[in-house]
Symmetry: C2
Subunit: 359 residues, 2 copies
DNA sequence: GGCCTCGTTTGAAGCGCTTCAAGGTGATGG
DNA sequence: CCATCACCTTGAAGCGCTTCAAACGAGGCC
């Protein structure tokens, strides 16, 4: 926790750095327009001029003034992505997919973290819009936030909503069908012989959880079943799962519950851990399915069967949507892309041993 | 994988959105200057004028043009942070710490992901610089990249290096003492009775790993010991760990190795998993210490003792460094902040059972 | 040798905003 | 009743860049 202090003199430090294009121009003995051409249309310029100008640029450590350029041009070559939760790997995957799309299109991607807070979602969407980025993508999972955003409308440039099924009258959006994931989980538990199933959800208002529950119910109904237990913990983290697990021990031991679908892997991992600590054996007495294909599901003492979400593809397709809307701003028809999740079977529902290094 | 398509007409969609401050001014029947005052110095404006202007702003869905503003003002109210690896929780923590500092200072934080690639580090540092952000922070862990950046020097505004001990002649930087972490690991293994210790590193060129090795060696030397085995896997992931674990099984069974320090938690978790699958008992036959306090260490079947890094604080202090340099651009003396890691004892070295929900 | 053409360079306009000196207005005090 | 003052508002300059019509030169051709 100490700090060493030293002088800054002499290093490769920032020069005055206030050089403008006209400084470069006069140093190189050409006009501003020519310097601009060197920067943006080098093919229009003689080799010797090019050389002279570039030397001047070096000499002055000239950094073009982006705002001035954007002002003159009227747009920028980047777009923004506002993420709800950087600690959730789904969003990181979304970012990486979006980044791939951006790179392919020759754009750069600016990220911001809203931490799921509406005020910050607004701040950053607005900040990006004011920065005149080509467009903005926003991940969303709360219905009330959606309503707030929808009421406000699009902030200048195009806005694409990710991870939320938005009304195509208002926005392009891309999301992963959570109801399908829910019914996948149910079908899998039923297929592996379970009949007395529990649903562990989360705080209300989270669209994804609502949809997962819906799909789960639907699948059960199709089989003439109904959930035996439903619990909505206050959070969707490991400790919430641990608490839920403790509550379920008796039910499982008494044979009243033999399958559990938890709406997040952390939840599922917590439940599994509570069971392990209390002599409830997984998967023989009870099967567990999580959601998200987080590392947590993988790393759990008993690797947990889970529903994987194609986050990377979500980001990629979402970015494409945005790019298309940017390209054809007029007469654009908003689209709603739906992606499907995948069932990933592991030991918590009775799969043969899985091994690390294989995903 | 279907897409529903609908019209965009009628929703709360983007209006022409090309309204400028003068449109607002003429609609409200005031001058541009007044509109600008409404935006930036509302206290200078009569309530009735304020109201009239705000109404006009609403009506036109006016979004101030950021580039124009930055151009006029000469700076922006945000700064940039280029992260090497969004999937590593350390960097996410750094981001959140930096964000806290930004919020306190009334600035916004723009993120970008370099993915550890030098070209992207350069692209984004330059992009931020051109955007005339107040300053840029860059996480770095490769010496050759540092050399490239140092050669180029600072790109206009201040540049602070994170997670790398930079020469204070050139840059401010903040990092966490990896050598201290390495010796902590060694000391802990020795304290818990181990003497035949192995070091598992990683690809060369990674400054953090180099330093961890250094500290580890130093501590051993202090105790008159030397590492029994040193392995440098090609990567630092779980599968690399699994492979290393397999290689070590015989050594451990033969009693030639009784303590392992792995330079990453993923590595350690892989090793532990390989041991578990092959009847090598942890911690009784061998103790394992990881690094990073990742979720992986926590979630491992046998929770792994690890070295925690104060990533949040690193981001926070780094941002403060940057803010200070922004405030006093002249006669600024670069600082190098050093933070210390923490030993977190878990079962892999013999701690009593730990429980989820408690971190 | 004069004229036309083509490729290069110039110079000024203008992007949308902030700022600030100068102008207006109403209230206050003598 | 007029001078003074405080407070609002105006209008124009200027931030650094791109763009584009116009100027310029250097060949090439008749």
């Amino acid at each position: 926790m100490t700090s060493a202090v030293q002088s800054s003199a002499g290093g490769a430090t920032s020069l005055p750095s206030s050089a403008s294009i006209s400084d470069v121009a006069s140093l190189a003995g050409v006009s501003q327009g020519t310097v601009s051409n060197v920067l943006n249309h080098p093919e229009r310029v003689t080799d010797v001029t090019l050389d002279r100008v570039q030397r001047a640029i070096q000499m002055l450590n000239y950094v073009p003034n982006g705002p001035a350029r954007s002002l003159a041009v009227g747009r920028t070559a980047s777009f923004g992505l506002v993420l709800s939760d950087l600690s959730n790997s789904l969003f990181v995957e979304i970012a990486s997919g979006a980044e791939r799309a951006a790179e392919e299109a020759g754009l750069t991607l600016l990220l911001a973290n809203s931490d799921g807070r509406l005020d910050r979602e607004n701040t950053y969407v607005r900040l990006f819009a004011e920065g005149r980025v080509a467009g903005v993508m926003l991940t969303l999972n709360d219905e009330s936030h959606y309503r707030a955003i929808a009421r406000r409308g699009s902030p200048g440039g195009p806005l694409v909503l990710l991870n939320y099924a938005a009304d195509p009258a208002s926005f392009c959006s891309a999301h992963i069908r959570n109801d399908v994931g829910g019914s996948m989980a149910a079908e899998h538990l039923i297929e592996t012989g379970r009949r007395r199933l529990a649903f562990i959800g989360g705080p209300s208002g989270l669209q994804p959880v609502t949809e997962r529950r819906l799909g789960f119910h639907r699948a059960l109904t199709d089989h003439g079943l109904a959930p035996v237990v439903e619990i909505d913990p206050v959070g969707v983290n490991r400790s919430d799962g641990w608490a839920v697990g403790l509550r379920l021990i008796d039910e499982v031991k008494a044979g009243r519950v033999d399958g559990i679908f938890a709406a997040s892997d952390l939840l599922a991992a917590g439940i599994a851990q509570a069971f392990a600590a209390n002599d409830v054996s997984v998967p023989s007495s009870v099967g567990i399915v999580g959601y998200d294909n987080n590392q947590a599901a993988w790393d759990s003492p008993i690797p947990i069967t889970t529903i994987g979400q194609p986050g990377d593809e979500l980001g990629y397709r979402g970015a494409q949507l945005l790019l298309r809307e940017v390209a054809e701003p007029h007469a654009h028809r908003h689209e709603q892309i739906e992606l499907e999740p995948t069932l990933i079977v592991r030991e918590s529902t009775g799969a043969a041993g899985t091994r690390p290094g294989v995903r």
